[in-house]
């Protein structure tokens, strides 16, 4: 079992002085899925933005054996696929197909290959009918699928999802869930939804004010921190 993420002593302070991460140690094995829990503002999104070097804090980050540094940034970004919370921010190209082909083109594929790959991935997430549509005409669930397709088209080894189910209705959630379960990548899932975490991950990590204050079996963590409501 190889380590795909290995992080030690990660700290990050926003320019306005907020200490968002305050010494995080974290690891992820290949093929494993982990849930990130924590209160609003505890630093989960900030942490996730470090995984592919969008933010650069102190501490050491190793992804698939490579140390994150200026020289390895591009390679690491192609290995870590981040699906952001807001699909509108992630779908910025004029059509769905172009949007999904954006990543492969940046990886240096020829336009034909990139489009072929985009089509394959879109079929995989069940969006084969929407190649030429503009992203703003899609429903929330469709947008989320296209956003995931755009990330999958980069063929990442690690999939990072920041609150993937917000705004989705229960049937769409179930579909998304089964899609995610069918993907073989290692996953980091940020969520407030205990059901989603239980269904998708086995291990959980609990953030509190920029530190990890608990980790272990997902059910045990949910119980320990009363991370459920009814």
């Amino acid at each position: 079992m190889s380590r795909v993420i290995q992080i030690a002593g990660l700290r990050y302070r926003y320019p306005d002085g907020t200490q968002a991460l305050d010494g995080i140690d974290f690891h992820l094995n290949s093929g494993e899925s982990v849930a990130l829990f924590g209160a609003n503002g505890s630093g989960k999104t900030t942490f996730v933005l470090h995984l592919n070097g969008l933010l650069r804090g102190e501490g050491s980050i190793e992804i698939c054996g490579m140390r994150l540094a200026d020289g390895t940034l591009e390679q690491i970004r192609s290995k870590v696929g981040v699906v952001f919370q807001d699909s509108d921010e992630q779908l910025f190209m004029p059509t769905v197909l172009e949007d999904v082909a954006f990543g492969p083109l940046n990886l240096g594929l020829s336009p034909d290959d990139a489009l072929t790959r985009a089509r394959t991935v879109l079929k995989r997430v069940g969006m084969a009918h929407a190649f030429e549509r503009a992203p703003y005409h899609l429903s929330a669930g469709e947008k989320k699928r296209v956003a995931i397709a755009g990330v999958l088209a980069m063929d990442p080894e690690i999939l990072v999802l920041d609150e993937p189910t917000t705004f989705l209705d229960p049937p769409t959630r179930r579909d998304l869930l089964s899609l995610l379960r069918s993907l073989p990548q290692a996953k980091v899932v940020v969520t407030h939804d205990a059901n989603l975490a239980r269904a998708l991950t086995s291990r959980a990590v609990f953030f509190d004010q920029g530190r990890i204050t608990g980790q272990g079996d997902v059910i045990e963590i949910i119980q320990r921190f009363h991370w459920e409501y009814s």
Binding site: L49, N52, L54, E74, R77, S78, V80, G81, V82, F84, D86, D88, E89, Q90, F92, M93, P94, T95, E98, F102, G103, L105, N106, L107, P111, E132, A134, P135, Y136, H137, G150, V151, M154
Partner: protein, 232 residues
């Protein structure tokens, strides 16, 4: 939402929709130049232009009335100046002002009603319009709807709590919050782009070939416009 209707039109499949955007854009420019230089008194020429536009709209299977009502958006402005011109005793010119602006607007609508944004921006790009400008146009268009909807909801929220909503400061506050949200959104988009391997340069899509049918279309338009202009 005006532009969503046009967006829907532009995704049609008529033979006009399938023409190369460069041919359509060139045809639009020819039409506009010929129209702009038509003598004010040539009423039959204006009628013929209108017929030409109606035929084209028919070919594109676009609703003529919808097209005309949208093009009529210029009329308030034109009518004001037409009235002024009429008062000063030049009724032919007054009529021509209204006719020219209305027909020009319809022609532009025919272009965007049969060509998606990506099509005509690609045409502009192949004519060496700066890439940066093209990208900004695409982004503005992409986020227009998102941000306009945000404004709408903010106004609603204010309306709910203040039926008589007045106040300069309130409006300024709305603009400020909107600006902040827009700025954050831009940051988010940039992050998403980086996350997918963006390295400061958009990889351009390859241009589609200019087919003989496109050339045929362009020359027909050219001939039609010039014929009207010469004969009437």
């Amino acid at each position: 939402m005006h532009h969503l209707v046009i967006d829907r039109w532009s995704r049609g499949s008529s033979s006009l929709h399938q023409r190369d955007p460069r041919a359509k854009l060139a045809a639009l420019l020819v039409f506009l130049v010929v129209l702009s230089t038509t003598r004010p008194g040539a009423q039959w020429a204006f009628v013929a232009y209108a017929v030409l536009l109606i035929l084209t709209a028919n070919l594109a299977r676009l609703p003529i009335l919808g097209l005309a009502s949208r093009a009529a958006l210029v009329l308030p402005f034109s009518a004001t100046f037409a009235l002024l011109t009429w008062w000063s005793g030049d009724s032919l010119r007054a009529l021509a002002l209204a006719e020219k602006s209305f027909l020009s607007g319809t022609a532009a609508l025919l272009l965007v009603g049969t060509t998606p944004l990506t099509g005509w921006t690609a045409a502009l790009e192949s004519w060496r319009v700066p890439r940066m400008l093209i990208l900004v146009i695409q982004f503005v268009y992409r986020y227009l709807f998102v941000i306009a909807e945000q404004v709408q909801r903010m106004r609603w929220a204010a309306l709910c709590r203040g039926p008589k909503q007045r106040g300069f400061r309130l409006a300024a506050g709305l603009v400020g919050v909107l600006f902040a949200r827009s700025w954050q959104r831009a940051d988010g988009i940039y992050h998403a782009m980086l996350a997918r391997g963006f390295r400061g340069r958009f990889v351009p899509a390859p241009p589609a070939p200019f087919r003989s049918s496109d050339a045929l279309f362009l020359s027909t338009c050219l001939a039609g416009c010039l014929a009207i202009r010469m004969l009437l």
